[in-house]
Amino acid sequence: MSDEAATPRWRIHGRRARRHTGFMLGAAIVALVAFMAVFAELLMPHDPYAQDLTRRLLPPIWDAAGTWTHPLGTDHLGRDYLSRLILGSRVSLTVGLLATLIAGIVGATLGLLGGYYGGRIDAVVMYVVATRLSLPGILTALALLAVVKGSLFAVTAVLGFLLWDRFALVVRSATQQVRAQDYIAGAVAVGTTESRILRRHVLPNILNPLIVVATLEMAAAILAEASLSFLGLGVPPPTASWGLLVSEGRSFMFFKPYLIVLPGALIILLVIAINALGDGLRDLASPIDSGDN
């Protein structure tokens, strides 16, 4: 404790973060996938959309007939499978980030309003949340996407407007706790405007739970996008989405199981990593004085 008192806060945070295995592993994997998504054009050995019907379903490198030209072979249209897997990270991360952003804005606004003002406003917020919760997520998303026609934008928007419930609930209860603090009463007493109180005093204090929920929802959005695309109503072909790759590989899964195993494994890995990141952030956000654990 004594040496920590002299060290700057960010250093302590950094040291604690480096000691947290789950956080570091999660962060490393997420960073790796993000790198894949951003620099896909540099990493892909071939054009992921170039079809070549004379080179359909070529075997991967671990097969006796495999070659390094296509390390993971080709799909049913002769497209390079490794390139499509790499590009798939872009859809997952884009939908995951943007849908979470939309959901976060909608949910945090509702939660702030309900938690800060209480009373009737809170009752209305809770009723809106209850209504949203009773709508079956995937089913509603499928029905909506069938009408508006699946696209990256549509999937992101639909998921953003379906996944805000946990944000609202967590922000609401965190705001209630902050609201009861003396410094809020003090700010009210000196005549601070409500919007300033919400922005300057409440929001910074509920940031930690907000970030943890954001990781949970990002994982949920990535899983949902994969499911919707697998069912044919998410991002449309020929886009390379991991869910879509599983759906395309399904007809060949008895002979070439890696066609569904690889994209599935990437989804699982990314979701676990994001969850580990969230758990780590929650642990690290607990007060420094409570010691390392």
Binding site: M126, Y127, A130, T131, L133, S134, L135, P136, G137, I138, L139, T140, L142, A143, L144, A146, V147, V148, K149, A219, L223, A226, S227, F230, L231, G232, L233, G243, V246, R250, M253, F254, P257, I260, V261, G264, I267, I268, V271, I272, N275
Partner: protein
């Protein structure tokens, strides 16, 4: 307690009405259903006649009023494709989905609760880690993918189970396992945290200090308190499973309301889609209400408060 129950009931009724209205308007507001119904190559005149034929030209509140009135008489309209009454189509397939959801819930309870208890009783041991790994995996594995992997391994490589259809009980094994995997982690982790909390309370410590046998301590003092929220979650999970079965039913071609919903969505059969959407939403609302009431009856803090 009566006040708690009454206010919950009121909210549930409000939510039920809203969710029906939302489910009804959602498909109508998100795009032009008439153009959808008339087909790809329809002329503007054909689209207009489809609009009038299906009553889509009337103001939305009037459409909803007419639909609600028919609903009160048990009439959900007819399928645009098979022309069967929608209510019959749903009722015919409901047993399959209900069986699937109930089996999956039972399996997650039978495995999840004991595993969660064991994890809480032996924290930081291999059993606790195992339960954590199971929970992490269960939350990260997409159910459509798990379904396919189970088909390849158990249906094709080992040939233990049938892989598609709904003719016999054996057809339910893989779908039930897939669905149970999604409900299990939540139940298990909640049991664990509830048990840990109960075990750290003063009354458990007092009972232990008095020399009460560990088994009695668990069964009489810790477990009932830990299970209260778990039962509430189980009721809610049943509602979630009803809606979540759409993926599992589509992969295994299990002929329940999930598969019906999926097929109807793909062919734009909106009377069927909206009815299933509203049906599942109402079932969820009812189950949450029942869980709330049961909690109010069991929990003395609410019962006497």
């Amino acid at each position: 307690m009566l006040r708690t129950v009454m206010s919950r009931l009121l909210v549930a009724v409000l939510v039920a009405v809203t969710v029906s209205a939302v489910g009804f308007s959602l498909l109508r507001l998100s795009g032009d259903l008439a153009a959808e119904l008339a087909g790809e190559a329809a002329t503007p005149a054909e689209i207009e006649s489809a609009r009038i034929k299906h009553g889509l030209d009337r103001p939305l509140p009037l459409q909803f009023l007419g639909w609600s009135r028919a609903l009160a008489a048990g009439d959900l309209g007819r399928s645009l494709f098979t022309h069967e009454p929608v209510a019959e189509m749903i009722l015919k397939r409901l047993p399959v989905t209900l069986q699937l959801a109930v089996y999956a819930l039972i399996i997650s309870i039978v495995i999840g609760i004991p595993l969660g208890m064991l994890a809480a009783m032996h924290p930081r041991t291999w059993i606790d880690r195992l339960s954590l790994v199971a929970a992490v995996l269960g939350q990260a594995v997409p159910s459509f993918w798990l379904a396919l992997v189970l088909i390849v391994v158990f249906g094709v490589m080992l040939r233990w189970t049938p892989i598609s259809g709904s003719d016999s009980w054996a057809h339910f094994i893989l779908p039930t396992a897939t669905l149970a995997a999604s409900a299990l982690p939540g139940l298990m982790r909640l049991t664990r945290s509830g048990m840990l909390e109960a075990l750290s309370t003063d009354y458990v410590r007092t009972a232990r200090a008095k020399g009460l046998a560990e088994r009695t301590l668990m069964a009489v003092h810790a477990l009932p308190n830990a299970l209260l929220p778990v039962l509430a979650l189980a009721a809610v999970q049943l509602g979630t499973l009803l809606g979540g079965s759409v993926i599992v039913e589509s992969v295994f071609a299990l002929d329940g309301i999930g598969l019906l919903a999926y097929r109807s969505i793909l062919r734009g059969d909106f009377p069927v889609v909206q009815s299933i959407l509203i049906f599942v939403a109402l079932a969820y609302t009812l189950l949450t209400l029942l869980a709330d009431i049961a909690n109010a009856i069991i929990d003395p803090r609410i019962r006497l408060g």
